[in-house]
Amino acid sequence: MRKYTPKDNVQKKSYYTDRFWVAPRVPSLDVEAGSHFDNVVKELSKSVSVKDAKVQIGQLRIVINAKDNFGAIKTLRDSCGYKMCSELSAVDYLAQDGEFEVFYQLLNLDEAKRVRVVCRIKNGEAVESIVPLFKSANFAEREMFDMFGIQANNHPFMKRILMPDDWEGHPLLKTYPLHGDEFASWYEVDKIFGKEYRDVVGPENRDPSNVDRYDSQRFSRVGYEVPFAAPIEEGNEQENPIAYSETFMVDYTTGTTTLKKRK
């Protein structure tokens, strides 16, 4: 029977996990009363509903509703001094919950504190763009769209950024294979040769570690070197043993016999 592989997550999995393995968790602490983060949570609770606020590894992680993202980040910027959005992106949880987790990493330069605002959206939903608040979100949101297909509403230029404009599929989805899908294997072939040459050229091999035993265009075997692009599928490889140079064996301390012979 063919081995079952889940279709909703095609990323590499551990080949063995102990039955009784329980993964430990990073300590997730409550916000200390009176601390800077406590003030942040209080300030934020005035305008938006804070679903959860925990301190993980020195940084505050605030969970909010996705529709509040603009308001929450605006409050953080204007009232709490978080003047820089250092990063934003998403995490794919489509296989588990059918949702994306979008996070915004904000920095307060005066207090040297960092806050991560997290919200969840369903597949196909969009988030509100925060470009009016932070221009750094311009490229970051485009990258999020490129990698996950999450649109940002009211973004000035919602276009692919890293992948080509005519690419299909979003590479960081868990359903997207590491070496690319069907579309990816024909993309360059179509670009360079044209669609009509698909049969001649064949799909692109996108696995850099792939070694084809019978591919005499790209690989050669020591001891069985054959002419470039020679057909060797039928096993008609000529054995071609390596002949080592005789000079290697010469003992220079005794006599000059080899040299004499050469003269």
């Binding site: 430990p24 003047k83 990493q105 960092r114 221009k135 960081l172 669609k195």
Partner: protein
């Protein structure tokens, strides 16, 4: 979308010659001053840039995707290929975020070596910046002199780890090797040399150079508000008068024990940034000089002791059965950090470099996001270039010090 191939090539939907005085030009991706693979589309009115559109992705290798398919230790050499001018900074940023996720204490000797390597890399990267920036602007000789000293620094890196560009000299939990014999002597000689060359060669050639000043002063002005809004970090942020260095504000490794200054420039232009880079090299030398005596006072332990995550030292693996079993599991299956997420910012030579790692308790990271400073500095180009002259475009790109390995990832 037009279907393109060799016979029907792809013509951008751009009017290169327009009725009015505007023209669209394509800068890169093969332009020697594009610092790798930057494609800029510029709309010009005469010589004035009226629109700029940076197009990136020509070096995209899907490193974040690869991280989801590699164990934590497997991924570390891949981080070399992000900012390939200062690989150790990437290795370190990655190792730090995994260590914070696990909650690991690194031995002191490893900390000293790591801090030394980080600062040496900062000098390597800054020398590269000065060299290429000067070359872009037209000062050929600085390029040659700066690359000479950079070679010496890379020789030091080679003596330590065997590689010159892709170091992988930092491991999760410590460093793999102790310093070789005479390395510290060589390092102190190098420090003296760099300090001397800084004053007598680079600054002597550039700082008061009339042409250099004309090309850099009041070019690429970036206000403090814009720097914050665009997510600029490192010398770009400090060049706009904001004193924020992660080494000081959110210290990691030994930076809290070291005495160094954070240079700030409030001129907001390319010249101010250039001066910052020069001063930062001096501060790096100062840090290195303080680290040399610290090395001797440390225990000779290099890797953290955490059998669940880190393999034991080799002599233990070769003599003790349990250490061998642990090592076997860690190599074949990979370590399993706790469930949770971490974002660990570090001050790389270019700015804030941090790895966001989301772990689900598996040997493979569930999501890894590399926050690369150059990515945001490239985004800035679409605004900072508008209103400048075409001759200054190269100066501004050089001044942002972007490296495409980490822009495209």
């Amino acid at each position: 979308m037009q279907v393109t191939n060799k016979l029907t090539p792809f013509f951008e939907n751009l009017n290169f010659e327009r009725d009015d005085n505007t023209m669209v030009i394509n800068f890169g991706p093969q332009h020697p001053s594009a610092h790798g693979q930057l494609r800029l589309m510029l709309e010009l009115d005469g010589e004035l840039v009226t629109k700029a559109y940076p197009d990136i992705g020509y070096l995209h290798r899907g490193i974040e995707k690869m991280a989801e398919n590699m164990t934590y230790n497997e991924f570390l050499p891949t981080t070399d290929r992000l900012d390939y001018i200062a690989s150790t900074a990437n290795n370190y940023a990655y190792a730090l975020s995994v260590e914070r996720l696990i909650g690991l204490e690194v031995p002191r000797r490893a900390q000293v070596i790591r801090t030394m390597l980080l600062e040496l890399n900062r000098i390597i990267s800054h020398l590269f910046f000065v060299a290429t920036h000067a070359l872009d602007v037209g000062a050929m000789s600085v390029f040659l002199y700066a690359f000479r000293e950079r070679e010496f620094a890379m020789d030091l890196m080679e003596d330590y780890c065997g590689a010159r560009l892709t170091h992988s000299a930092v491991r999760i939990g410590g460093v793999p090797l102790d310093l070789p014999k005479n390395w510290l002597t060589d390092l102190s000689k190098f420090c003296t040399k760099v300090n001397h060359e800084l004053e007598h060669t680079y600054e002597a050639l550039l700082t008061e150079n009339r042409i250099w000043k004309m090309r850099l002063e009041d070019v690429g002005i970036l206000s403090a508000e814009d720097a914050l809004s665009w997510g600029c970090t490192g010398p770009m942020l400090r060049g706009s008068g904001i004193k924020y260095d992660i080494r000081k504000e959110e210290p990691y490794e030994l930076y809290s024990e070291l005495d160094f200054d954070i240079p700030v420039s409030d001129k907001c232009d390319s010249y101010g940034r250039y001066a910052l880079y020069m001063e930062e090299m001096r501060q790096s030398v100062k840090i290195l000089k303080q680290l040399i005596p610290m090395y001797g006072k440390t225990e000779p332990k290099l890797m953290a002791h955490a059998p669940q995550y880190i393999s034991a030292p080799k002599e233990e693996i070769m003599t003790q059965n349990y250490a061998l079993m642990q090592h076997f599991v860690l190599v074949t299956q990979g370590m399993r950090p706790p469930v949770g997420e971490v974002y660990a910012p570090t001050e790389s030579p270019k700015g804030e470099l941090g790895f966001y790692i989301k772990s689900e308790g598996e040997p493979y990271a569930y999501r890894l996001k590399c926050r690369a400073p150059s990515f945001f500095h490239t985004g800035l180009l679409q605004e900072i270039l508008v209103g400048t002259y075409i001759a200054d475009v190269v100066t501004i790109i050089g001044s942002t010090n972007i490296v495409f390995g980490e822009v495209d990832r």
